[in-house]
Assembly symmetry: C2
Homo-oligomer: 220 residues x 2
C-alpha cells in the first residue's frame, strides 16, 4: 500500500465525496472548487495519483478512485468521523464546531490510536451529522435515505442526518429545534415554493423552505 502526503489524502477525500461513492467520474474543475485550488494544480496532482494507482485517470475524461484509493479515502473519512464523535460526545463540542478540527485530526497516522479511539467511544456507527462511520477495512454501509422534501403531507419519519454540515446550516437547525433522532411530520406543503410546515416530536410546528428540507435526511 502506497503512502500518501496530507495533501494527497485531501485529494482522495474530495474525489470520493464528489464521485457519489465512486459512481461517476469527477471533473478537474469540480475538484479544484472543492479543495480551493486551481484546475492546473488538480491536473498535475491527478496524474501523480494515477501513477500511484489510487485513481483511474484518462486525460479530459475526469478521474475516479481505484478500489485501493476508495479504501484509503474511507479510512481517512473513518478517522474524521470518529474524531467528530469524540469531540461532541466527550469534549462537549457543538456539532457545528467539529469539522475544521476533524479536518486536521483525520491525518494523524496511528492505527493503534484510531482502534483505541473507536473502542473508547463504544464503536459508534454514525458521526454527529448522521453520517455512517466506515470500518477499519475501508468499508461503509450506506443506507439510502429520503430527504424531508420528498415527504408528502401527513407523512412522517425520524431525522437521521443532515446533508449540509456547514456551521451556518447547523446553527439554523438548532434555532428551529431540529436534531438527529427527532420525530418529524409534514403538516402542510405550500405548492408555490414547496416550503413545508412540519411538526417536531408531535409538538413544535415550524416552517422550512425547500432549500432546507432538501438538506434534512429521513429514515422511517
Amino acid at each position: 500500500m502506497v503512502k500518501l502526503s496530507l495533501v494527497e489524502e485531501n485529494y482522495l477525500k474530495a474525489i470520493y465525496h464528489l464521485s457519489g461513492h465512486g459512481q461517476e467520474n469527477v471533473s478537474t474543475n469540480a475538484i479544484a472548487l472543492q479543495i480551493q485550488t486551481t484546475p492546473a494544480s488538480v491536473s498535475d496532482m491527478v496524474r501523480k495519483l494515477a501513477k500511484k494507482k489510487v485513481v483511474e485517470y484518462t486525460k479530459y475524461q475526469g478521474v475516479n478512485l481505484t478500489n485501493e484509493g476508495t479504501k484509503m479515502a474511507l479510512r481517512i473519512i473513518r478517522k474524521h468521523r470518529l474524531w467528530e464523535v469524540f469531540l461532541v460526545k466527550e469534549l462537549k463540542f457543538h456539532w457545528d464546531q467539529v469539522h475544521d478540527v476533524a479536518e486536521q485530526l483525520e491525518h494523524i497516522q496511528s492505527p493503534l490510536l484510531i482502534q483505541r479511539l473507536d473502542e473508547y467511544l463504544g464503536f459508534p456507527k454514525f458521526d454527529p451529522h448522521g453520517d455512517p462511520i466506515p470500518n477499519e477495512h475501508g468499508e461503509i454501509e450506506e443506507k439510502p435515505k429520503l430527504t424531508l422534501s420528498s415527504l408528502k403531507e401527513c407523512e412522517s419519519g425520524i431525522i437521521a442526518a443532515v446533508k449540509d454540515t456547514s456551521a451556518e446550516f447547523l446553527k439554523y437547525m438548532d434555532k428551529i429545534g431540529v436534531y438527529l433522532g427527532a420525530q418529524v411530520t409534514v403538516m402542510d406543503i405550500e405548492q408555490f415554493d414547496r416550503s413545508q410546515e412540519i411538526e417536531i416530536d408531535g409538538a413544535k410546528r415550524i416552517f422550512v423552505s425547500k432549500q432546507v428540507s432538501e438538506n434534512i435526511l429521513i429514515t422511517q
Copy 2:
C-alpha cells in the same frame, strides 16, 4: 503573534529542549542532530526564525529563543504532554507508545480543543513521564529534581520522572519494576562503576547501572 508552520514549530521545540530552558545558546549542529536534518538546513531556518522574531541569532554564535519564541515552544510542549496524558490515561496506551503520536497531535491548531482536553483530563500537572505541563500562557513550573545517581547509601525518595523517554529505556523501567510514584531507597553503591542496589517500595531489590540511575529523577 506570528503563525508558524509545522516544521518551524519543530525547530522551536528542538531549540527549547537543547537550550536547557533558555540558559545557553544552541549550536547549528546540535539542532541538526536533534531533528535529523543537515546543518545547512538549520542555518537557513534559523535565519528565517530570527526574521520572525522568535529566535535571537548571530552568525556563528548559535541561537536562542526570544520570550515570544519560548512561549510558543511551551504551548506546543503543553499540547504534546496533554495528548500524552490522554493517550495513557484514557486510551490505555503504554508510556513507551505515546511519544510518536504526540509528536503529530501537538501540531493540531485549536485553542478550544486543547482547553477542553485539559478540562476533560482534570487539569493534569505532569505527563506520563513526569514532565510538567506548561499552562495556556506558555509558562512552566520546573521543580529542580535530583537524579537517582546523586543519592547516597541509605537515602531514599520518590521516583518523579524519567530523563530518557525512549521506548527502550521505558520498557527497561517496566522490566525492573520502576514506575512514577514509587518509593526508592539506595541500599548499596559499588564504588568501581557507581552502580547501585536499590529497593523499590520497601520490597523488591534491583541493581541499576550509573547510566540508568542518571536517567531517573527523584523528589523527596
